[in-house]
């Protein structure tokens, strides 16, 4: 009798584990098809919602990561404007660029993914890449060294990953 109970419990546990193995495979395969599979996996696995997510769900997690990064970078810029006022003009440009990402590209992409018009989410992520690169370039165009290279590269990378996932939905 004990044996049957133990067996029963083990089988139930087995059933709940197998699907999550399959989901991880799905996430892995999706991430392999992006420009930075490592970054992609890190983002997905950090979010428990990825476990049961379909492709749209993974894309939405990606957009959330873009938003988080954007918010963080905006805070960084605000701090830099105080600490390095001589970089004001480039920093102002960057502030506008990242506000565009957080206030326009991200909400538009979320709405597009939920509604099934993924192309607008691709546009939003493509713009996020452009904004990050344009911000980075602003410094050299002023003859200055960028204090934001890591941040701009990070946004560039995550937005490119999400764009690749979004394209799989087209």
């Amino acid at each position: 009798m004990k044996f049957i109970i133990i067996l029963f419990l083990l089988l139930i546990l087995q059933e709940t584990l197998l699907p999550s193995m399959a989901d991880t495979k799905f996430i892995e395969n999706t991430c392999k098809a992006t420009p930075s599979s490592h970054l992609c996996l890190k983002i997905m696995l950090a979010n428990p919602k990825s476990q049961n997510a379909d492709l749209t769900g993974l894309a939405l997690i990606g957009v959330a990561a873009v938003k988080d990064k954007g918010v963080e970078i905006i805070q960084q810029i605000v701090a830099l404007k105080k600490s390095t006022p001589e970089l004001k003009q480039a920093l102002d440009y960057c502030l506008d660029a990242y506000h565009a990402v957080v206030d326009a590209d991200v909400p538009s992409s979320n709405e597009a993914l939920r509604g099934g018009l993924a192309k607008f989410a691709e546009d939003g992520m493509a713009d996020s890449v452009v904004e990050s690169q344009a911000c980075e370039r602003r410094f050299s165009e002023h003859g200055e060294r960028s204090p934001m290279t890591n941040s701009n590269n990070a946004m560039n990378d995550v937005a490119n990953v999400v764009r690749a996932i979004v394209r799989m939905l087209l």
Partner: protein, 646 residues
Amino acid sequence: MASSSDLENPNAISSLPYSYAPLSDGEQPAGDEPTTGLHPKKATIFFVCAFLSVTFLVALFAGNEHVLPKDLSTNAAPSMAVTPAITTPLSRGVDKGVSEKSFRPFLGAENSYPWSSNMLDWQRTSFHFQPENNWMNDPNGPVFYQGWYHLFYQYHPDAPVWGKIVWGHAVSKDLINWRHLPIAMETDQWYDEQGVWTGSATILPDGQLVVIYTGSTNESVQVQNLAYPADPSDPLLINWVKYPGNPVLVPPPGIDNKDFRDPTTAWKTPEGKWRITIGSKINKTGISLVYDTEDFKTFELLDGVLHAVPGTGMWECVDFYPISKQAENGLDTSVDGPGVKHVVKASMDDDRNDYYAIGSYDAYKGKWTPDNPTLDVGIGLRYDYGIYYASKTFYDQNKQRRVLWSWIKETDTEASDISKGWASLMGVPRTILLDKKTQSNIIQWPVEEINALRTNATVFNNLVMEAGSLVPLYLPTASQLDIVAEFELDEQTVMRLNGADVAYDCATKGGAATRGALGPFGFSVLAHEGLIEHTPVYFYVAKGVDGNLKTFFCADQSRSSTATDVDKSIYGNIVPVLNGEKLSMRILVDHSIVESFAQEGRTCITSRVYPTKAIYNNARLFLFNNATAATVTASVSVWQMKSAEI
């Protein structure tokens, strides 16, 4: 990548060490080794349980550890900042004062912040349809009704970016001057709560107008809905009623809830019913579903599809219409018969371009076949080789022509769109006809009403331009122009030239700075005096080994602006040129949009251009011949274009 945590980036995300965690050994559960005194049955039970436990634990660890690939070289390489467009143009050549100025990024320059409000204000057009502010995309339900041209459009009233969409509305007597009206349809029903998306209008024989449009429901399912004017005797069609029995169509079995949108104008079937088509996809095959109806309320799905093309992905904004083989007028959508071909057009979701093909329609079967399957929908001809999407035609019974509208998006950054407060234009409306000379493509031409904006003609006849020449055309202003020109290459050079393998294409060969024996030659529009910013629109002729000439028609944005946050692509395609034809082009310049037409509209290119210096009084127009060998003779008419009411 370096794993140090920088001061400037305390939350470095790229530096976590990853390790490959080996599968753990299946642990023995807490249980003693069975003593020899154990009952055999219990021993069996014990070993079975132990085995299952081992399996359980293996599954536990294998399932929950993220197993990263051992090959860590797939780790993100240091990312590359975008490579800017070509920055050092090749020399234009020896003589005629062609400038050696090259594009260099500004260093600590006069304009520190690139986009002043002056520059952004200039970008608004003067004779292209655009709402006063915020975001527009697809044209909807274009129609001529009781004396007015109506244009509806996908409109996001809250921001210059796509979002929850409603139907904007405007009317015109001439397709050029517009009166903006209130929003025609809002997201006020459960069946269009997430968006009042694209749709089309049909005028019934008794003059009634019906609209079928896609709604995105409260659960983001794409459905088709019926709407009609609240007051059919109001020629301005201000108020609209949504049929209480909506939706009239939901995604059929086998079609995804999010792959069912953009219903067409209806046309009559031989049985006297109405027929529409709706684009979709099955896996990666783009398809067009066909529905028949008698009342626009109940529909019958036909077997099969109007047409399908594998590998093309989702077909958005499908359009289907007849064109006359002989006549120079457009045809009502229901016309059919021996003197008629049919066009199927679709917007390809995958590559954001509008494609069309000419073929034959079988009205009894509800199927269409392309004349040339190698140039099928989605893989052959495009309406336009620049920025042009979600286009839609309507039959204008007022002037018996088929008119084409299209959405032209921005190619600058969203940050700029937010600063200027708007995004997107409609292209200039164009008439569509079968090209009677080639019989294998359509020709598109700006509607004749646009000519009413022409003033102050400047005409040059038979201007001879040697190889490597640049001719400024002195005009009072050059941001609003209509340019019509004919070009002739000197026969001698063409004949004498040894042909070669033609390996040219507009996009990848360096634009107007790349010189060939017989090209490029054309105009530089929105040009700054020193050519530090300019946008060449040109022909490039190449002679093949067989002696035949190939003509390319290109629009080159690579040096259009000193700003580095705008798209600098080069667009274009081959244009067929028949024996005896001179090379001809027409260019409409309207601030940040340039529309170029070759050979009376055989090849069209729409570009968005955002100069920082070549604006207002500093915008100029040049004629150039950057060929190395041939002389080009040009005859040119340039008009200043008045502003329209837009």
